[in-house]
């Protein structure tokens, strides 16, 4: 199942890439036009934290097919991508909505019936796969997945330390075609800043061939330069920037808004009633049913969004976000 990345080829491709410091601000729809059928798309954030939902809804609307999708820890977005026919292969460590909501029924339907592939890696392994891709090396060594059926299922290989003779697991580099991430703020060139935990976004965006950043707010470059240690993605790694306040909803965005557990309750109830059709009607109504994410958010309602913001401000101390 492993597609080995020859680092020399990845490197040549990267060298040939233009790194223009130009205004990359565009719309969600224009941005996801960078994705082609069959591409490997990596999704930033984990579970329902800082998921780039606005970009994913635009991707759903674009009707792309047969994507491979990778993510450290996945939530209901994977089910939406499967049920809509957008993705047919998942590379991740976990798919669910959250333990509270039980087993992921749409995932079960697709995988148990052979309609989709779920390639399962450990957290450290997928993290080091992105990191190897980000470092321009074909593998990184580590000590997870050894002895398990996870290793045999994906064909994990090992490597011997030339100094000590110790054998370690070798995690092959992962270079996604496109990475989608949601940030707290970015400038028009693509310099992006995130508050709180970074999940695997740093490595993922460096490993990817193209990067689309949605941000709660597009700010002046001076704002970025005022706190340069906060920047986690440099502009030269970024291809498109989209401004979407509440762009991670119904996932959380650290310090700005909590996840909307009620929204997940409704989704799960719909799937329990109608199976994969429930996920499809969710996509019809929420993604296809609006021209853009702003339309979806309007349907969600400003009061609901505001209450998630208030909940976040209760949890995160003032000063921890900018």
């Amino acid at each position: 199942m492993i597609d080995p990345v020859r680092s020399l080829e990845a490197r040549r491709e990267q060298e040939a890439t233009r790194r223009e410091a130009v205004d990359k601000v565009t719309s969600e729809s224009e941005a996801v036009a960078l994705i082609a059928d069959g591409d490997h798309v990596a999704i930033g954030g984990t579970c329902y934290s800082r998921t780039p939902m606005a970009l994913l809804f635009a991707l759903l609307r674009s009707r792309r097919r047969d994507l491979t999708v990778s993510r450290p820890l996945s939530s209901f977005e994977m089910e939406l991508l499967l049920a809509s026919g957008t993705a047919s292969r998942l590379v991740t460590t976990w798919v669910g909505i959250g333990l509270k909501w039980g087993l992921p029924l749409v995932l079960r339907h697709y995988v148990e019936n052979g309609l989709a592939t779920y390639e399962e890696w450990s957290h450290l392994a997928i993290g080091l796969r992105y990191r190897a891709g980000a470092m321009g090396v074909p593998f990184l060594p580590g000590l997870s997945m050894l002895g398990s059926d996870l290793a045999s299922a994906v064909g994990l290989k090992s490597v011997e330390c030339p100094y000590t003779g110790e054998r370690l697991a070798a995690y092959p580099a992962l270079n996604p075609d496109v990475a989608l991430v949601h940030a707290h703020r970015a400038d028009k060139f693509g310099n992006a800043q995130v508050d709180g935990y970074f999940h695997m976004d740093v490595d993922m965006t460096r490993a990817a061939r193209k990067v689309i950043v949605s941000a709660e707010q597009i700010v002046e470059p001076e704002r970025i330069a005022a706190e340069p240690a906060q920047t986690i993605i440099p502009h030269f790694a970024v291809d498109a920037v989209v401004e979407v306040p509440y762009g991670a909803y119904p996932a959380e965005c650290y310090g700005l808004y909590e996840a909307d557990y009620g929204h997940f309750d409704d989704y799960v109830n719909e799937v329990r009633r109608a199976g994969a059709d429930g996920a499809r009607s969710y996509v019809e109504r929420n993604a296809y049913g609006h021209e853009d994410f702003a339309g979806f958010l309007e349907a969600v309602g400003a009061d609901r969004l505001a209450s998630l913001g208030a909940a976040a401000r209760q949890l995160v101390p003032a000063g921890a976000t900018r």
Binding site: G45, T46, C47, Y48, S49, L73, T92, T93, W94, V95, G98, L99, K100, W101, P104, L107, R108, V111, E112, G114, Y118, E120, S122, H123, L124, A125, G127, L128, Y130, R131, L143, S144, M145, L146, G147, S148, D149, L150, A153, S158, L168, A169, G196, Y197, F198, H199, M200, D201, V202, D203, E252, Y254, G255, E258, A259, Y261, A312, L315, V316, P317
Partner: protein, 261 residues
Amino acid sequence: MSAAAPPASAEEIMAVSASRLLSDHSVVFAGVGMPLVAAGLALRRQAPHLTIVIEGGIIGAHLYPGALPVSTNEMRAAFGAQMLTDVTDIFLLAERGFFDYGFLGVAQVDMFGNINTSIIGDRYKPTVRLPGTGGANDIISLCNETYIVTAHEPRRFVERVDFVTSPGYLSGGRSREEAGLVRGRLGGVVTDLAFMDFDDDTRRMRLRALQPGVSVDDVTERTGFELLVADELPVLEPPSPEELESYRELVGSGGEGGGAS
């Protein structure tokens, strides 16, 4: 705690027993749900200097009564933490050997402590596709000593798991070491019925202590394989009123105790 407080539930018995395993001034990597609540209880009881680590990149998590995190990657888990970093980084700290304990829940565990949270049935055509490892494979491979906390049900305690998502002692004996997993011991399994550890040579699961009011037969009947039984079987202390009160306050009404991995 008033005299009218309800008796301890199975979940409460498990959480309290698990929480007592954690010594003060140690570092525990806890999965969300029951393991995290058990760690939180320890912090409020005998281990006020316990450092709780969660896979979302959170070190020194504080659990706020009634607002427990539902996943390992959310603000509720990050609020009040000492350090926030990324997911890969947390597991690299585990690989270096900084984490004394791993605390895990399971869907299925076998006589060698192998965990399955991936596939029931055939790996190429699963009967049930479970969510996956999340951080469990890494925790049990990399933390210094891992404990499993789970309800004692026959469907969970199977002779051999269909799929080894997270390696215990693999096929027993030295097979774990031979696979290169020289790091990480499996300390034991805490349930609502008993505490079990693993025989030093065969690495088979062994009954070591009983929860109050539970017989050896109660345990073996609810275990899907032949359990070794230690010569002496002490009875665990029941949850004290103080432990129960602290647990209930922690879980509160908002303590769904669910989550990922």
